[in-house]
C-alpha cells in the first residue's frame, strides 16, 4: 500500500488460510482507544490466520493420506497412465469427510467461541472509536464556529 494512504489496506486471500490480510494504518496521533482497537484486530487476524492455515493444511494432508490408503487397498496406482492423480468419487470420500468433521469438532468449538468473542470485542471497540471521533469532530466544529 502507498505510504501516503490514511486507510487500512486489504489484500488478496492467503493461499493457506483463504483469509484476506489487512495492513493497518497507524495515525500519528493515535489515541489509546484506537490503539487497543488496532491491536485487537491485528491479534484476531494473526489468530485466524494461524488457525485456518493449519486447519486447511491438515485437511489437505489427511485427504491425500486417505486417498492413498484407499487406492492402495483397492490395488490401484496413485497416478494413472496419463500421469493424472487418481481420485476417489464422492461416495468414497464421504467417509473421510465425516471422520474429519468429527475429529475436528472440539477444535472448531474452541475456535468458534474465540472468534465470536473477538468479533464482538472488535466491533464494540469500533463503535467506541467512532463515537469518540464524532465527539472530537463536534468539539472541533464548535471551536471553529466560535472563532
Amino acid at each position: 500500500p502507498p505510504a501516503h494512504s490514511h486507510n487500512d489496506w486489504i489484500g488478496p486471500p492467503d493461499k493457506h488460510s483463504n483469509l484476506r490480510p489487512v495492513i493497518f494504518y497507524v495515525p500519528p496521533e493515535e489515541s489509546p482507544l484506537e490503539q487497543r482497537l488496532r491491536e485487537a484486530r491485528q491479534e484476531a487476524q494473526a489468530c485466524n490466520q494461524r488457525f485456518w492455515a493449519r486447519h486447511n493444511r491438515a485437511f489437505r494432508q489427511e485427504k491425500e493420506e486417505f486417498i492413498c490408503s484407499r487406492l492402495k487397498a483397492k490395488g490401484l496406482e496413485l497416478r494413472d497412465e496419463t500421469g493424472q492423480k487418481a481420485t476417489l468419487n464422492a461416495e468414497e470420500m464421504a467417509d473421510f469427510y465425516k471422520d474429519f468433521l468429527s475429529k475436528n469438532f472440539r477444535k472448531h468449538m474452541q475456535y468458534n467461541r474465540d472468534w465470536y468473542k473477538r468479533n464482538f470485542t472488535i466491533t464494540f471497540l469500533m463503535g467506541q472509536v467512532a463515537l469518540a471521533r464524532a465527539l472530537r469532530w463536534l468539539r472541533w466544529k464548535k471551536k471553529n464556529v466560535e472563532h
Binding site: P1, W9, I10, N18, N48, A94, K98, W115, T123
Partner: protein, 440 residues
C-alpha cells in the same frame, strides 16, 4: 427466475437464487419454463448449505393479481446481474440455498472466463475505504437481497392465501416490514461468519470477507433495518406479525447461525426459519394464527428438507473442511431419509388444505402429480444416494414450490363461499382504509 431460498445462508454461502416466476396463463408458463431453463444453463449452481442463508422462505411463485409479472421478471434479471457469479471449482458447486445466487453450471468457457476475470481483480490490494457509489451494491449483497426477495414473496403468498378481503396497504406494510427484517437477519448472519465464509467458494465474495464494509457498519445497517422493520410490523400491521418477525430474526441469527457449527439440528431450526414468513403473511392479513397459517408454514417447512438435503449432498467437502455440522456429512442415511419423509409429508399437507378450508378439493388433486414427482425423486435420492439423484431432487424442488403455491392460490377457497363472512371480516386488523377487493 426461480428463487431458491434455503438453508444455509452462511453469509457467504449465498448463492443467487433463481426466481421462477410462474404466471397463470399457459403461454406464460411456457415462457417461465424457458426462462428457467435459460437460467439453468446460464448460472453455476452454488449452493451453500450454510444456513445463513436460510433466513427466509423461498420464493413465492404465486403472483398476486396485483403484481406485474413482466416487471418482476425484469427486476429479477437485473438482480441476477448484480451479484457476481463466483467461479466454481466443483462440477456442482455448493449451493446456498438461502442466499445468493444459485446457478446452474455454466458452459466451460463462461466458467473459465469468470475464473480468469475474478483472480485478476482479486490479486490486488485494495484500500479499505467506503465508497458511497458502491454502497448500494455492497448493502444489497450484505442483506442478501435476492434471498430477501424470496422471503418477501413467500410472505405475500401467505397473505394472499388468507381468507380475508385483500388489503393493499396492509400487504405493502407487511412485505416491507418482512423485507427489512430479512435484510437485518442476513446482515447479522454475514457478520458472524466472516472467516468461515472466506473458506467456502460460494461465500468468499461477500462484502465483509472482502473488507468492502466494516463490521461496525454492517451491524449498524442491520439495526437500522431490523428495528424499523419490526416496528413497522408491530405498529403498522399487528403485534403478532411483529413478534413473529422478531422471533424469526432471533431464530436465524442466534440459533441457526451458531448451531450450524454445533449440531445437525440446525437444519430443523433453519426449516422453521423458512416456514415462518408465510405464517407472518397470513397473520398480517387476518391478525390471528389460524390453522391455515400453520398449514402454509408446514408446507414450507417440509419443502426445506428435500431442497436443502439434496443441495448439501454436493457440498460435503466444504462443509467438512469448514467445520459445519450437516446431516449430509455426519448422518448421510438420515439426510436422505428425512428428505424422502418430507416429500411424502407434502402430499399429506396438500390433502389437509381443503379440510382446513384453505383451498377447495381441487388442490390436492391438481397438486398430486407434482408432489408425487418430487416424492419419486426423493425416493431415488434415498435409494441411489449419488450426485445425479441429489441434483435432480434439488432442481425439482426449485420449481416445485413455486408451482405448488401457484396451484394453491388458484384453488383458494373463495371468501364468498364461506358461511359466516362476518366472522372473517371481524378477525382482520387492517390498519388503513384499504380498498377491499373481493378475490374470486
Amino acid at each position: 427466475g426461480l428463487f431458491v431460498w434455503r438453508l444455509k445462508g452462511t453469509g457467504t454461502r449465498h448463492i443467487p437464487c433463481h426466481f421462477v416466476h410462474l404466471c397463470r396463463a399457459a403461454n406464460d408458463r411456457l415462457i417461465t419454463f424457458q426462462y428457467f431453463n435459460f437460467l439453468k444453463r446460464m448460472y453455476v449452481t452454488q449452493y451453500n448449505k450454510d444456513l445463513s442463508q436460510r433466513a427466509k422462505p423461498k420464493s413465492d411463485p404465486v403472483v398476486s393479481p396485483f403484481h406485474e409479472p413482466q416487471q418482476l421478471d425484469q427486476e429479477k434479471r437485473v438482480l441476477h446481474k448484480i451479484s457476481p457469479v463466483a467461479p466454481v471449482h466443483q462440477p456442482w458447486p455448493e449451493t446456498s440455498r438461502r442466499s445468493e445466487m444459485r446457478g446452474v453450471k455454466t458452459p466451460a468457457e463462461t466458467e473459465a472466463s469468470a475464473a480468469r476475470a475474478e483472480p485478476r481483480e482479486d490479486r490486488q490490494w485494495k484500500e479499505m475505504k467506503l465508497r458511497l457509489d458502491e454502497l448500494p451494491g455492497i448493502l444489497a449483497r450484505l442483506s442478501k437481497i435476492k434471498l430477501t426477495a424470496l422471503v418477501v414473496s413467500t410472505t405475500s403468498a401467505g397473505f394472499a392465501m388468507a381468507p380475508v378481503p385483500f388489503d393493499l396497504p396492509c400487504f405493502l406494510l407487511a412485505s416491507l416490514g418482512t423485507g427489512l427484517a430479512s435484510c437485518a437477519a442476513n446482515s447479522i448472519n454475514q457478520f458472524f461468519e466472516v472467516p468461515f465464509d472466506s473458506n467456502m467458494n460460494r461465500t468468499k465474495n461477500r462484502p465483509l470477507v472482502r473488507g468492502q464494509i466494516s463490521p461496525l457498519l454492517a451491524v449498524c445497517f442491520a439495526a437500522s433495518c431490523g428495528v424499523p422493520g419490526i416496528a413497522l410490523l408491530t405498529l403498522g400491521v399487528n403485534p403478532l406479525t411483529g413478534a413473529l418477525g422478531a422471533f424469526n430474526i432471533f431464530l436465524y441469527t442466534c440459533c441457526y447461525t451458531p448451531m450450524k457449527r454445533l449440531s445437525i439440528a440446525n437444519t430443523w431450526v433453519g426449516a422453521l426459519v423458512g416456514a415462518i414468513p408465510p405464517v407472518m403473511g397470513w397473520t398480517a392479513a387476518t391478525g390471528s394464527l389460524d390453522a391455515g397459517a400453520l398449514l402454509l408454514g408446514g408446507i414450507l417447512y417440509s419443502w426445506q428438507f428435500p431442497h436443502f438435503n439434496a443441495l448439501s449432498w454436493g457440498l460435503r467437502e466444504d462443509y467438512s473442511r469448514g467445520g459445519y455440522c450437516m446431516m449430509s456429512v455426519t448422518h448421510p442415511g438420515l439426510c436422505r431419509r428425512v428428505a424422502l419423509r418430507h416429500c411424502l409429508a407434502l402430499i399429506g399437507l396438500s390433502a389437509v388444505a381443503p379440510v382446513l378450508d384453505v383451498t377447495t378439493w381441487t388442490f390436492p388433486i391438481i397438486s398430486l402429480p407434482i408432489n408425487l414427482y418430487i416424492s419419486y425423486l426423493g425416493f431415488r435420492f434415498y435409494r441411489d444416494a449419488d450426485r445425479s439423484s441429489s441434483r435432480k431432487l434439488f432442481f425439482c424442488s426449485l420449481w416445485h414450490l413455486p408451482m405448488l403455491l401457484l396451484v394453491m392460490f388458484t384453488c383458494k377457497k373463495s371468501v364468498l363461499d364461506k358461511e359466516d363472512k362476518g366472522d372473517l371480516l371481524g378477525k382482520g386488523e387492517s390498519p388503513g382504509r384499504a380498498m377491499e377487493i373481493r378475490l374470486p
